[in-house]
Symmetry: C2
Subunit: 196 residues, 2 copies
């Protein structure tokens, strides 16, 4: 394998090439962090031409989403959060976030993600940096309120806690209350965190 | 060891007796749950006289606190929550909860507790039941509002999330904001969950 992998300009089609790029990206995100990782460095680490990385992935964000097996694109979540009436932002966030968890596949992937973030400092660091760059920074900029990053962080605390208590720990009645009720209760609190 | 352990009426003083009772309690909480565990059953499982369990522990609650190595007595937290002006309950909760985490020893024990709850379904079940009996039920009764248990559960989501984001994941700026600011931000939201 090694001579093949190291050939610059290798064309797409190798059965593992994409997987090797993702693996190299995962290592780079873990070792150097999100900001210091570049498409070029990932290509070097995978032993492939940078063009090949671009062939499979449009951006570093996409590599990150794939490397962490995120169930959704955080940029889509960020866009959905800021798009719409400002006084309904809390409800949009609650609906989007719980919507992921309420689907069987989403829940399975979110569970796996949460467990690995909570059991591995390395994964936690990756997530922290990736979420900061892809959600916290853009949403904070678009919010244009004082303490925007603190506010977005507070939203994260409420969402993370709701997910853990409902889906991972199963504390009643949070675990079995219908999702609409939960959204109704979380929406004003998220709104308060963001614009209160 | 076995013949000694099985002798009914054994007196206190055996070097491991207390630890054996705690171990038996932990197994019983895990196997049968909090409600179905009794002091008598723990004594039986530890192979000691029930009086000996009562010699070391005043109640099942205390056995639970010890079995899970809780950093604080949840009943004390529950009492502190309900004692005082109703419109400051959110602030009292935030102050009490973050106070535990802000001490070095408290943080170490809470970290260990959170990690084991999140990585073991058995520990999660124990915690869920113990916290329900020792905090959710009494606080709900004292609140005397509709949906009291749902409200207490929502408070749990916000607290759990704040702790995880600040102390376990370390997402900025939540991780390094001063604790007073965090209390100021969480207090109205907790109040909203409980009485809003």
């Amino acid at each position: 394998m090694t001579p093949v992998r190291r050939t610059p300009g290798r064309r797409p089609g190798g059965p593992d090439t994409r997987g090797e790029i993702v693996q190299a990206a995962r290592e780079s995100f873990a070792d150097k962090g999100f900001e210091a990782t570049s498409m070029r460095a990932v290509a070097r680490q995978a032993g492939v031409d940078a063009a090949l990385v671009h062939h499979y992935f449009d951006s570093k964000d996409e590599l990150f989403i794939e490397a962490l097996a995120l169930p959704v694109d955080p940029r889509m979540i960020a866009a959905r959060i800021v798009d719409g009436p400002r006084d309904e932002i809390g409800r949009r966030i609650a609906t989007a976030f719980l919507g992921i968890w309420e689907s069987a596949e989403g829940q399975q992937r979110m569970r796996a993600l949460f467990r690995s973030v909570l059991s591995s400092d390395e994964v936690a660091r990756m997530m922290r940096e990736g979420i900061t760059q892809m959600i916290v920074v853009p949403v904070s900029q678009m919010l244009a309120v004082p303490d925007a990053r603190l506010r977005v962080g507070l939203v994260a605390t409420q969402l993370v806690g709701a997910a853990i208590v409902r889906y991972l720990v199963g504390l009643e009645p949070i675990a079995s209350v219908d999702v609409e009720t939960l959204i109704d209760r979380l929406a004003p609190v998220l709104q308060q965190h963001l614009t209160g």
